[in-house]
Symmetry: C2
Subunit: 218 residues, 2 copies
DNA sequence: TCCAAATTGTCATGACATGACACTTGTCGT
DNA sequence: ACGACAAGTGTCATGTCATGACAATTTGGA
């Protein structure tokens, strides 16, 4: 009787069990990270919390940092889709602006499996843990090639011979980094008063206006 | 009799000995990295080559990656000086372009204690070793705040309230990253046919022209 | 020459990460 | 429902990075 209901969602129960273990590991990890910080939390603690062996942890994640970066991957995919969906007559920076801000707002609203609380936690981890930070930068830089490809398509040029898609994609990435940096380190009166997405929007607006200050008269 | 001659250069002979050990470690490290790659080289091997203990290695460098990043620090300092030396009426991107290209050329010419051979080796290490790559990105991102400060000074604005210096500095950084990326992964007919400094120059030229393709008619 | 400080070696420790192999559990055909 | 096969897990062993503690050595200077 239960077969239909039990197998309901996807394929097999093995898959579901794996999925549950994975999510349990992520939850346990973030809880511990929030409590004691990233460095102070050991893989063994995370695994023990879920009652699996450390070895199993590394079968799900290739490193401790990988747990945190999981979400970044989802966000990046969402960004790619949003960018691809922008009308093709939009200038590239404008398209990246719209796609990027939309994605960031979605994060803040708790899109993806990402409660706002966890969103904040991730940002703090980035700031407080050098290894998470550097791995995140690496991830972003590696993914930038896909952005470059999309931008090149949009421009109708070949990224192997035309440098413009590279510089546009790079500028877009820099907007994200700069927004994050200002948002987290900003010595504004009220730290974190602005939403990260608002800052991102402002940065992209500046990119649209041109950056070689002072602007050439003409 | 020997006191004068012995103490000659700087302070004490202890300092000189330390300096020699440090350089020996760097040389040994790069030799081994070039032979067997970064990951395959252990700290113990490096230390053994110089005939010191592994523990001593970590008294000179806080990590294995640190050996490679040593030069980046010098390069960055040179970049800062070059940027500060640019005439203040130059637009910021142009100033970064001139400073950056000059610095990069200096590297290629073997400036700093950096034989061209070692320069190439470093670039390859960046590409082949994820940890070196990510640590390098981290270093660059952290140092970007100083660029931002210089740019803000040049613009005569406060980086705490004006986002423009951040975006300009970020765009500059992205030019370096993009140039490196294209240079190393470039599927151009002749890989590495162009000098990295030439690529960097081209990227900055694009930044000067504006990046929101297609350019707004007007 | 002898003292004090700086440097190094040795030892111990802990965490990350991976390979090998045996064991358990889910899956699927009959 | 049973059993073969595959997938996932635990255990053990191993190697490397990195750091703290303390003793031994070397150096600079009085």
């Amino acid at each position: 009787m239960t077969t239909a209901a039990t197998h309901s969602a996807q394929a097999g129960r093995r898959e579901r069990k794996k999925q549950r273990t994975r999510e349990a590991l992520i939850d346990a990890a973030f809880t511990l990270f929030a409590e004691k910080g990233f460095e102070a939390t050991t893989v063994e603690e995370i695994a023990d919390t879920v009652d699996v062996s450390s070895r199993t942890f590394f079968r799900y994640f290739s490193s401790k940092e990988d747990v945190v970066l999981t979400y970044q991957e989802d966000q990046f995919q969402a960004l790619l889709e949003a960018l691809a969906a922008r009308p093709s007559d939009e200038p590239v920076i404008t398209a990246m602006r719209n796609a990027g801000v939309a994605m960031m707002r979605a994060c803040e609203e708790g899109e993806f499996g990402l409660d706002p609380e966890k969103f904040i936690c991730i940002q703090q981890l980035m700031d407080s843990s050098p290894t998470v930070f550097s791995r995140s930068l690496e991830h972003g830089q590696k993914k930038q090639v896909e952005i470059t490809r999309l931008v090149a398509e949009r421009m109708g040029v070949d990224p192997a011979t035309d440098l413009r898609p590279h510089v546009a994609a790079g500028a877009g990435s820099c907007a994200f980094r700069a927004a994050f940096d200002v948002w987290i380190h900003g010595n504004a009166p009220l730290p974190r008063a602005e939403r990260l997405s608002d800052l991102l929007d402002q940065f992209f607006a500046l990119l649209e206006d041109g950056i070689n200050y002072p602007a050439k008269a003409g």
